[in-house]
Symmetry: D2
Subunit: 257 residues, 4 copies
């Protein structure tokens, strides 16, 4: 299969809380085409959500909900053993809150992307993946479900009749089964866009990625995630935009059904 | 001016949290025509919200959002000095979350009623009243704004072009200016429906209330609040339903535009 | 090996929060000899802690800290993947807060017992068990560490030089390896003290328990836990006190070094 | 009365939370002689507290608790209408937690300084001031109570038999009654140490301050507060240290009884 003609670049955003500032939201909005906005459980608060959506609206970038575990102290990165019903309820609540804030600014939300440990669990856990997909469908079945390419979450979204967006990570290496190399591995991460560039180009143009162990693995990516924090966030975002342009691929934000 | 031909009886609900149970929601749903459901800031959590809305749907009762201060420890009863923008944002977020959960169950929300110290502040504080009304309008301008009859909040709602519902309290006495006698006053409360009955009947049939100091004060009430907790909640609710029927007044839940 | 001549009966307590009431603290204090008091993370708040310690002081019952995961919504019953350092810090903080409230009432804390999912994890997870034991020792090395008899936590406490109290559960059945039958098993629980009585008597008088699969397993119990909530809490507590008296065993609260 | 021969320079610290970083703690520790450490209610978490106390220990700086309102979203800067009992309990809890973490690192806490809106309320509200002082005394009567010079809090501390430390603010202007000019006033703040220097010198050497309206007001300051955040934090800290040295005044951290 050939390469992509259209692709999205997304970024997490709105992860500040109260007096605490996190990320370079305003700068990153110049590069990305979609943003996923924290909903107050692992990060974000009602005022930060409003300010972030207003910035994204001004930048004409697609916006989605970025729901996570109710764990501000752990930034949603610590696995929590929620029941499928608790996952469903937590997603419905956060997506609802996000859509309310978006509506108050006259903007329609386009997508939902789970955050952190919940995102990771939904890669492989069929029951949690289903709970996430059902929650999105229950609140608004025109929303796009974003999930790791080849994950159980993408399958669950399709099974629920949702439009999905398959995600690849710009700064992460892959295993032979298509999953990400865990962060604990010494070579899990690319530390500059220069290092990451060949892998991104391979995914974009061939629909495959070379795993850390050498195998060619199919990874069809509708959207690429660049991280919103860290010293290299802007470099990765700029590099991605340049690469996409160089390949004559159209950069386009996620679009709801 | 004559009495009412249609009236609503409302009750706060969904104030449990996690393992903690509060109120007699299921029993009260047999009597009231509208309920206001806590949204997770001062009480309620995503699962409690879903369960409560499902109960209200089964009882064919109108549902609204009951947003409060972000103070679970104080149950939203402690005044917090939020800026008007923070009030606006907190209301938008909570109403959005509520509408999301309601939508996931196929129910439309009908109204918004602020909780506790925020409700009380919006009785007399013009700026906070305006922030609440603007927030409701921003999320969904078809929602009814519930506020104390004669309050600044009702005025703010009308100024924003919202449909309003003027509220009277079944178990509270009134002052000469139409406000409630503060809870700190020894005779602020009626402790049984028997004691409260004459006052409710006066409001229902004449549009006036006799203040604690003897004056006749105009109080037009579209909805009567019975409290959801406490040993006498069911007695008050039953008493109200009987009185309304006896007066040949139609009991009808709040209806969005 | 022979039976016990002295034993403690303990109960969790102080699990109310704000307006929410949980448990029958005052009634249970007539029966138990030690209580473990929630510290504000999974349950309890500063005022509830003070009130509970004051009640326990009046009842001349030993008091300890009952620290849990920072998860009020899940009551500390949902596993959270905290790092060992995060576990250490969470325990130090909560035990410190508890000791501060106890000191303000002129009472010395006697013990620490982890709550819920954290207690369960420390049964089998050596690293978490060590973090809990190190935290207790770091705050006050005269405190007794309470843990399930035969658990990694008891071993970790001994390795840290702490005095330990080995716990048995009155209403739970045991597996052949000395661990509790998981709650998901249909016969995990005894539902009345009548059902539980023989097992408790066996542990008290022989130092063994008959596992659900028939084996005799050594379980030396210094303290028996009766649950603080649920309809049968008082029945279990009363039954335990009667059984202990009948066996001429002295009931005595935990005592710090 | 003549000038001071010994003075303390203090700073708030440990106001990070989870992944969120705030302040320049490590740099400021080179200049100040005492730090007040957030206790998890308005800022700080158990791990941040441990890390901050460890830094302060390495810098040989006195440490105290910095308790605030339970309002992380508002950073403890929003007035909350807590009852005196709730204030007492919140202080006892937070100071206890702080002392526990300090003890786990082998350090003794020296003082307590309330934060933000609670600090400000205790300047003028006699009942709240008393609740704060009683709480400090109840947990540890050897702790120093820090409060604004001339405030009700200082009086309450003395009435409780506590050692007190009278505080002046380096970057704030004063009113004729000895209180601070409210932040809402256009000239409330000095924006550089150069601007603030004359006022600090006047307080240090004469025990008086020139109010914004020209009057000489007695302000005896045992400790000067430099702010821990903001672009000028280090400049103020360095300037204070230089001024104190220039005046041949000894810089010395707070010392418990």
């Amino acid at each position: 299969m050939a390469g992509k003609s259209v692709v999205d670049i997304n970024c997490d955003m709105g992860e500040s809380y109260g007096v605490y500032r996190l990320g370079q939201d305003q700068e990153l909005l110049r590069y990305v085409s979609s943003v996923s906005i924290a909903c107050g459980f692992h990060a974000g608060d009602p005022s930060v959500m409003r300010e972030t959506i207003a910035l994204a609206r001004a930048a004409k970038v697609s916006i989605g909900a970025h729901p996570g575990y109710p764990d501000l102290m752990g930034f949603g990165r610590r696995l929590m053993q929620l029941s499928p019903t608790e996952v469903f309820d937590a997603i419905v609540y956060q997506v609802g809150a996000f859509l309310g804030v978006a509506k108050s600014l006259g903007v329609a939300g386009t997508h939902v992307k789970a955050h952190g440990a919940l995102y990771n669990l939904a890669v492989s856990d069929v029951v949690v993946a289903q709970a996430v997909a059902q929650a999105v469908r229950a609140v608004d079945d025109q929303l796009i479900l974003v999930g790791l390419a080849n994950s159980r979450l993408i399958e669950a979204g399709l099974a629920q009749g949702l439009k999905v967006s398959r995600e690849a990570f710009v700064d992460r290496r892959y295993q032979a089964d298509g999953s990400l190399v865990p962060r604990s591995h010494p070579h899990a991460l690319y530390h500059s866009f220069g290092e990451a560039r060949d892998q991104v180009k391979e995914i974009l143009t061939t629909g495959f990625v070379t795993a850390i162990t050498g195998e060619k693995v199919p990874v069809v990516a509708d959207t690429f995630c660049v991280h919103g924090e860290g010293p290299h966030a802007l470099e990765f975002a700029r590099g991605m935009v340049a690469l996409v342009a160089e390949q004559n691929i159209t950069l386009s934000g996620l679009k709801r059904l």
